[in-house]
């Protein structure tokens, strides 16, 4: 793969060529700008290229879905964003969207329809699970993560918000790793502390930060890898691991990165 140039098609380019991709990859703000999460975007792009799926991104035409604005109470701003985004998406006649951000996923899937934006929206964990089921990635047996202890941190916006608990776990099982659950998982999963627009302000005064509490739980499992499926969770867990001075022994990785690495991408 490494000797071959990869390119990322945009919707604009595709449309200019008279083509329309099967799926739009919604990158999200974190996936576009956050240095750590950009690596997740790249990992996912490599997977998309490998399996040869027809996809495109919006590139510079993509903007915030409005999720943090709505959760912080600014309904005007949310709807401005949403309606503008829907115009762009409908302009390209987008039917199916995949995204690595549970917040974008939730908003596009659940909140855009009422404003006229109707798409089939899937989170990349479900997407990866489908690829695994189709035999397109994973299940090499004895890959890099074979037998390694991995714990999965449930994202609130995937889990409780949208009932996606199994897909991320099935992705991890495809790595032939040892999946260890935290004390609080699935419906009882503990928030990373960043949802509801908390990512964009300091926490209110308390005894402890939520991400520290959650990181302690993750470290208690003895796992060397904390798997995440959300940019906010990734940041919060990484900060937690750093504050516990465990960054040399415990990695926080996204599901797409784990699969990409397992595939040698």
């Amino acid at each position: 793969m490494s000797d071959q140039q990869l390119s990322v098609p945009t919707m604009a380019q595709m449309t200019a060529k008279g083509e329309s991709p099967e799926v739009l990859f919604w990158v999200g703000c974190a996936g576009s700008f956050d240095d750590r999460y950009k690596k997740v975007t790249l990992a996912f792009i490599k997977i998309l290229n490998k399996v040869g799926i027809s996809y495109a991104v919006l590139g510079e035409e993509e903007t915030c879905t409005g999720d943090p604005a709505r959760r912080a109470g600014n309904e005007f701003l949310f709807q401005m964003q949403a309606i503008a985004n829907i115009q762009v998406l409908d302009g390209y006649n987008v039917k199916k969207i995949v995204t690595a951000c549970p917040h974008c996923f939730n908003t596009l899937k659940n909140e855009y329809p009422e404003l006229g934006g109707n798409y089939e929206v899937i989170h990349h964990s479900t997407f990866l699970q489908q690829l695994i089921n189709e035999g397109k990635v994973g299940l090499k047996g004895g890959g890099e993560f074979k037998g390694k202890k991995i714990t999965y941190h449930d994202s609130c916006y995937l889990g409780r918000a949208n009932n996606i608990y199994d897909a991320p776990r099935e992705v991890l099982e495809a790595l032939d790793a040892e999946l260890v659950e935290m004390k609080r998982c699935r419906t009882k999963g503990l928030c990373c502390g960043a949802g509801g627009a908390q990512m964009f302000k300091d926490a209110e005064p308390g005894d402890k930060e939520v991400n520290i509490e959650r990181t302690e739980e993750a470290l208690d499992t003895g796992a060397n890898i904390i798997a995440a499926g959300c940019p906010f969770c990734m940041t919060m867990m990484r900060d937690g691991v750093k504050s516990k001075e465990k960054e040399d022994t415990v990695a926080v990785m996204d599901l797409a990165e784990l699969i990409a690495k397992n595939e040698g991408l």
Partner: protein, 442 residues
């Protein structure tokens, strides 16, 4: 004067019914301080949810020990109240155990089943008293649980214990009187109350009759009194759990309800055709919620359904890390405010215009700002109460009416407006990540 007990009974039942009716009317009025809700769709799904969650206790069984104890009390409540039917008929007709001759042996079986349930209720109530007062389960404490809420919880358990003892005492003395007074029907042996017989053996028939009558009156008056008390108590959930689950949110938990008023304005701003844009603008209600009347009536019904069990608060990430937010307190404050406004209106007072409001006087911004919208509270509630929707409505008020969101949120809003990202990055740099792709893969 032989009708005196019947007349007394009738007066007591009528008085209790009157107070109960008044109280129910008041609660109904308080709930409808809230705005209309569209939750009348998907009726078959709603019935199913109510049957599973309220009638079937589905979500209680996430915690097996309290679920089991609670189930005993719940089953006891449903079934023993069948006996109240006989109480009412006997009370009005001046009969005694009117069903006994008709049901024969089946009556004995039936009352034995009731007694078994009464003992099960006793067992659970004692266990709950111990859990609350000796074991000091964390979720039963907390800032909002001081004084009345804790007393209320204990009172309910103690009243239930006394009422159950009244049934057993009544049955035990009844068995002793049978055969000595023609008025008393032959019922056969009641297993559990037989254990109380030694307490009353050797008493004269007149004393036994007095004790039996006392227990009978105590039980029925107790039940009527309890029914009125319940309307002032967190224990109202025994009735409210049913409508509360019927009207619960059936959408994905992550979906925040849309504001159509805003949609119209945004569409006009963007020069798009908006629904009803030709009509003169209706008086624009407040954006979000400052007080109870800005919430939907389902929110207020949620508050009246809350049992203060604290499962929401014990799962709340903000609360468990020492922040001020407690979803249970949000619900309790909403109910307290609705009660206050309702009481004031009933007296012809200022009602909502009393210079106070739910946000500010009952719930602080610090609390609502601490919410991560993780839905743990919504998931945890055994009867589908949604504290998150109240929190979000208040954030809407603060953000849109007061423009007083935390400064860093205002910064984030500005970034989205100008850079189309919550972080301040140039929108033209959004696609730069693609350039790293081939750098990295080499």
């Amino acid at each position: 004067m032989e009708f005196l007990p019947q007349i007394a009974f009738l007066i007591i039942v009528a008085t209790a019914s009157f107070f109960l009716y008044k109280r129910i009317t008041r609660i109904r009025m308080n709930i409808f301080l809230g705005k209309p809700s569209g939750r009348t769709d998907r009726t078959s799904e709603r019935w199913k949810t109510m049957l599973l969650v309220a009638f079937g206790q589905q979500k209680m069984f996430k915690r097996i020990i309290p679920a089991f104890l609670h189930f005993l009390i719940y089953a006891g409540f449903l079934v023993i109240n069948l006996e109240v039917l006989e109480f009412v008929i006997d009370g009005l007709a001046g009969t005694h155990r009117i069903f006994a001759p008709y049901l024969g042996d089946f009556y004995t079986v039936l009352i034995n089943v009731f007694e078994f349930l009464a003992v099960a209720v006793l067992f659970s109530c004692f266990a709950f008293l111990i859990r609350r007062n000796v074991m000091k389960i964390k979720r039963f404490s907390g800032e909002e649980m001081r004084k009345w809420p804790t007393l209320d919880a204990n009172l309910i358990l103690v009243i239930e214990i006394i009422l159950m003892f009244a049934i057993l005492t009544m049955n035990a003395t009844d068995m002793l009187i049978q055969g000595q007074d023609d008025h008393y029907a032959q019922t056969g042996t009641f297993f559990f109350s037989s254990f109380l017989i030694p307490l009353f053996e050797g008493m004269s028939v007149s004393t036994l009759i007095f004790v039996e009558r006392f227990a009978w009156w105590f039980h029925i008056v107790g039940i009527l009194g309890f029914a009125i008390y319940v309307t002032y108590s967190k224990h109202l959930h025994i009735a409210m759990a049913f409508p509360n689950t019927w009207y619960s949110n059936l959408e994905e938990k992550g979906k925040i309800e849309n504001m159509p008023v805003v949609t119209n304005e945004v569409k006009m701003m963007l020069g798009m055709p908006a629904e009803g844009s030709n009509e003169p603008p209706a008086e624009i209600a407040r954006f979000g919620a400052k007080d109870v009347n800005d919430l939907s009536w389902v929110n207020i019904m949620n508050a009246y359904s809350c049992t203060e069990c604290g499962r929401c608060t014990s799962q709340c990430p903000a609360n468990m890390t020492g922040k001020k937010l407690s979803p249970r307190k949000i619900m309790m404050a909403t109910r307290d405010r609705a009660e206050e406004v309702g009481a004031s209106l009933a007296k012809g007072g200022k009602g909502l215009e009393d210079g106070k409001s739910l946000l500010g006087d009952y719930i602080t911004k610090e609390e609502i700002n601490a919410c991560t919208s993780c839905n743990a509270c919504v998931e945890a509630c055994p009867i589908n109460i949604d504290p998150l929707s109240i929190i979000l409505e208040m954030r809407r008020y603060v953000s849109m009416e007061e423009s007083a969101a935390p400064a860093s949120w205002n910064g984030m809003f500005q970034n989205i407006e100008t850079s189309f990202s919550p972080w301040k990055f140039a929108p033209t740099d959004r696609f730069n990540w693609a350039e790293d792709l081939n750098k990295e893969s080499k």
